[in-house]
């Protein structure tokens, strides 16, 4: 290959610094890897260019090197200078170019000609030109705002459209976080004062995974860290109803009863406090409310938890002792895995996990948990945007703590479809970089969109486009745009470059469209909306790093370095880690993560299951990050469709054999019973790797858009099984943060 032109000598030099470490994994110490990178080792080839950029497929944001010839992307590789991904990439990254060169890539602006909207109803798009499209959008927005105010405009999806909505004063910008991580992050903020906490698994000697499975979903740097720990001999214990890849690498595995993880963690805290194994010095110096924890934890004995979780009391006690006495140790948080934060109990679970992490003194130490290190400067708009026109329509402002975090990413995705249906005043809805299939109860959303003017910003004609009045082609972030990404995953702040790597087959992008809309709408309104939108000033953002964008382009990633310095300052009301949260208390929530026998989701999990009934969970595939890979030829070839994972003995009872077509139907959730609930049809995977009481379906598959030529229709769309919730139901939970609960379901399974 003519790619990374590296002479043998250069290669050995470059690789001696990083590549060998990438190659060997552990033979290069982390301190060596944390040295600031230089580009000297990787040089440009005559005809082929090497361009640094960052993978924008998932939040790990791995550094990439792209080999580009005549503006065409030849190959993506990991950036060996990246201390974080260490020059390695996952399968999603290796197929990155198929997002840009997708056979179904939308290249022109489209306008709908069929006024009838519905699932499977051909929108009959026609090509349109720039002026026509943006005149139409600006006019529709202006008319709606004249009649119903700024709140009549809604965006769902990417953050960049938030700026447009803020500029006009609409409170209605929503994104996916309630289906993802928004339970853990605000809890983290309440307890330790910061969110996006970092777990230094690489150096941990003991790891407890409560459903954490970033190895199974191939979250590259986290998977590397986990396996590094394993190589170094760390003890790993996994609790998960599904025998995940993480479980397969663990020393001990317990198939815990779904939804009961909180009881397990509480019992471990109980053991550690009872036996006096907590880090008294750390607790005294840095924690607030330990006495209250010691009092509240008394009823949560291992025997009590064993009853609830199905994990033997002896094991709970022994693992708690091991966790407290093997340092450093981690009980890491995660995003969307099975027992994840989107479950209704997720916030309390996160709180308890933080208590366990803190009372064992595993905070701000290598091999433990630390606060993220960030220093990128924020760029403000020239002019202050107007006050928002009322409250967000999904009721997310009724969760005041959540909104603290969600100034940027608010939204009850699970309640948005029903809320939107009720909000008659909403006239214009933007769907930006977001597949409608990823919304719980998306069929309700489809209904809600029927009478709205819908603008869809996307790269492929997915299901969302069936409800679009206008389709705006998007650029592929990471390959066709510019920017910087700051990653808070190391003890030292680091920043990675995003460059326009290829000659884009598309002339448009979400940002360009947003600016154009702001310009034209502003003209109609007689206001310069652009002044209210922060300019993308990359140099200014990079200032605290003492580096310019041009310089960063040449080296790809820039990592500050030094000796690990603990940062034991916590931005909480007491300035300490609030085991007992005064913030939660102030807002009328439980200040400690009580186990509430009377909570509907607790009763739900402790109630019995019928003969053909199962708890439901989703799992994540290493090659799919939600729906981003659903139409990529290499990914679909590798695994065209998902299956229904069912335990072998339960399958035998139900007469289901491997490969049989089965129906999975929603029976009940913590709020409702369904006599004729939504159902999905798929093929059974009969396996020994799942609890008898659980059904799992991998996420990110299925299609019904006839405009997608690669995605496989045999796949199951998980959100065909979920229902839209209501804001009232979410408030009824009385939790500070309302997770989507899209795994809090009991389903029945039968042969099709």
């Amino acid at each position: 290959m003519s790619g990374l032109k590296v002479s043998r000598r250069d290669f050995m030099k470059g690789v001696a610094a990083v590549g060998t470490a990438a190659f060997l994994g552990k033979y290069c110490s982390d301190t060596q890897l944390l040295k600031p990178a230089t580009a000297a080792d990787v040089q440009e080839q005559d005809e082929e260019k090497l361009v640094y950029t960052t993978c924008k497929i998932c939040s790990a944001a791995c550094g990439l090197v792209a080999r580009v010839k005549n503006g065409v992307l030849v190959e993506i590789e990991g950036n060996p200078l990246d201390q974080h991904s260490k020059g390695r990439i996952c399968g999603k990254g290796a197929a990155f170019k198929q997002i840009a060169y997708n056979p179904d890539r939308i290249k022109t602006l489209l306008i709908r000609t069929n006024p009838e909207k519905g699932i499977g109803v051909d929108p009959k798009f026609r090509k349109a030109d720039w002026d026509e499209v943006f005149e139409l959008i600006a006019k529709k927005m202006y008319e709606a705002m004249q009649e119903h105010g700024p709140k009549s405009i809604v965006t769902i999806g990417q953050h960049k459209y938030n700026n447009l909505l803020k500029a006009i004063g609409s409170p209605n910008y929503f994104c996916h976080h309630s289906t993802c991580d928004s339970t853990t992050f605000p809890v983290q903020k309440a307890i330790v004062g910061k969110s996006k906490l970092v777990y230094d698994l690489t150096n941990a000697k003991y790891i407890i995974s409560i459903g954490w499975n970033y190895v199974g979903s191939a979250k590259n740097p986290m998977a590397q860290a986990f396996m590094e720990a394993k190589k170094k001999g760390a003890k790993i214990v996994v609790f998960d109803p599904v025998y995940t890849v993480a479980a397969s690498k663990a020393d001990e595995y317990y198939p815990i009863r779904p939804g009961t993880d909180l009881a397990l963690v509480l019992a471990m805290i109980n053991v550690i406090i009872n036996k006096g194994l907590y880090d008294a010095e750390f607790v005294e110096k840095y924690c607030y409310g330990f006495d209250k924890v010691a009092e509240f934890i008394k009823p949560y004995t291992p025997e009590w938890a064993a009853e609830i979780t199905g994990v033997p009391a002896e094991a709970i006690e022994r693992i708690a002792v091991e966790f407290a006495t093997t340092k450093p140790a981690c009980i890491p948080m995660w995003k969307r895995h099975g027992p994840g934060p989107m479950r209704f109990i997720g916030g309390r679970l996160a709180h308890a996990m933080l208590i366990l992490q803190a009372i064992t003194g595993n905070v701000e130490v290598e091999g433990g948990m630390f606060l993220p290190r960030k220093k990128l400067a924020k760029v403000k708009a020239e002019e202050k945007p107007p006050e928002p026109d009322g409250e967000p329509l999904d009721g997310s402002s009724k969760f005041p703590l959540w909104d603290l975090y969600n100034g940027k990413c608010r939204g009850l995705y699970q309640a948005l479809p029903t809320a939107l249906q009720k909000a008659d005043y909403v006239k214009v809805v933007f769907f930006t970089g977001q597949n409608i299939l990823s919304i719980p109860g998306y069929r309700t959303m489809c209904e809600a969109l029927k009478d709205k003017f819908v603008v869809v910003v996307t790269t492929v004609p997915d299901e969302t486009c069936y409800f679009a009045d206008v389709v705006l082609p998007d650029a592929v972030s990471g390959l066709e745009n510019t920017g910087v990404v700051e990653r808070g995953f190391s003890p030292f702040p680091q920043v990675s470059v995003i460059q326009k790597v290829i000659k884009s087959p598309v002339k448009y992008s979400a940002s360009k469209s947003m600016i154009e809309i702001a310009k034209r709408l502003g003209e109609l309104m007689g206001v310069d909306l652009l002044k209210r939108i922060p300019q993308k000033d990359l140099d200014k953002m990079l200032e605290p790093y003492g580096i310019t964008y041009e310089e960063l382009k040449k080296i790809g990633v820039y990592s500050t370095t030094g000796k690990f310095e603990p940062k034991l300052k916590f931005k909480t009301p007491t300035g300490k880690i609030e085991l007992y949260s005064t913030k939660l208390e102030k807002y009328g929530y439980d200040p400690l993560p009580y186990w509430r026998d009377d909570a509907n989701y607790v009763k739900f999990y402790l109630g019995g299951l019928g003969k053909d009934e199962f708890f439901f969970t989703t799992v994540r595939n290493p090659l799919r990050r939600n729906y981003k890979q659903n139409n990529l030829p290499w990914i679909v070839e590798a695994e065209p469709y998902n299956t229904v994972w069912i335990n072998a003995s339960r399958a035998a009872e139900l007469g289901i054999r491997d490969g049989d077509k089965v129906v999975v139907q929603l029976v009940r959730d913590p709020f409702r019973k369904y006599s004729n609930g939504p159902k999905v049809v798929g093929y059974a995977r009969v396996t020994e790797t799942i609890s008898p009481n659980v059904i799992a379906i991998p996420y990110g598959y299925g299609k019904w858009s006839k405009m997608l030529s690669v995605a496989d229709a045999r796949g199951i769309i998980v959100n065909d099984l979920t229902v839209a919730r209501t804001t009232e139901e979410m408030l009824e939970l009385n939790e500070p943060f309302a997770p989507s609960g899209d795994a809090d379901m009991i389903v029945k399974v039968m042969k099709a």
């Binding site: 290959m1 990374l4 190659f23 390695r88 191939a218």
Partner: protein, 170 residues
């Protein structure tokens, strides 16, 4: 002349298939041809099941049976041990596939003799090797389960890994 070899450690493999997709990318392979495959194996009974992953491709045997079987002398071995096929000589008869114990020779649509055409197989990314780089699959491997290099290098790494494991358990 250095001989190039692989080493694979199933204990470290997480079945993420990055090697499989990186191979597709580097060789720009159409759908229907895969030169590297990852397999998942399940065993045991719940609650003590096991999951094992294996990545497999042409092994570049020292004494390649495919090369012996080829009636057209289309398969040859470089001095560094890399076994390649000269597609201009290949007639797509499939003898190599009969001979190979690993099913490495691949024809379009990838199953035995599929829709024929000339044979393709994993090339050890000889073009990358010639540039002093590792094969695409081993380069991306997230956990270091798949390593490739000169026989001396791989042997050294394996010894070091074993020693380090001992050091951590003793």
């Amino acid at each position: 002349m250095a001989k190039y070899v692989f080493a694979f450690n199933p204990e470290l493999c997480i079945g993420c298939r990055a090697c499989e997709i990186a191979c597709k990318q580097h060789n720009d392979l159409p759908v229907g041809i895969k030169l590297r495959n990852v397999y998942t194996f399940e065993s045991g009974k719940f609650p003590k099941p096991e999951l094992r992953f294996v990545t497999i491709s042409c092994f570049h045997c020292s004494d390649p049976p495919c090369m012996k079987a080829c009636p057209m002398d289309a398969i040859f071995q470089r001095e560094d041990g890399i076994v390649l096929v000269d597609e201009s000589k290949c007639i797509g008869c499939g003898y190599c596939l009969y001979a190979c114990p690993f099913g490495a020779p691949t024809f379009k649509s990838s199953d035995a003799l599929g829709s024929k055409g000339t044979m393709r197989k994993y090339t050890f990314c000889y073009d990358r090797i010639d540039k002093g780089l590792k094969p695409a699959c081993a380069t991306v491997c997230i956990t270091g389960a798949l390593i490739a290099g000169s026989a001396e290098e791989v042997s050294r790494i394996k010894k070091e890994m074993a020693a380090s494991k001992l050091a951590n358990t003793l």
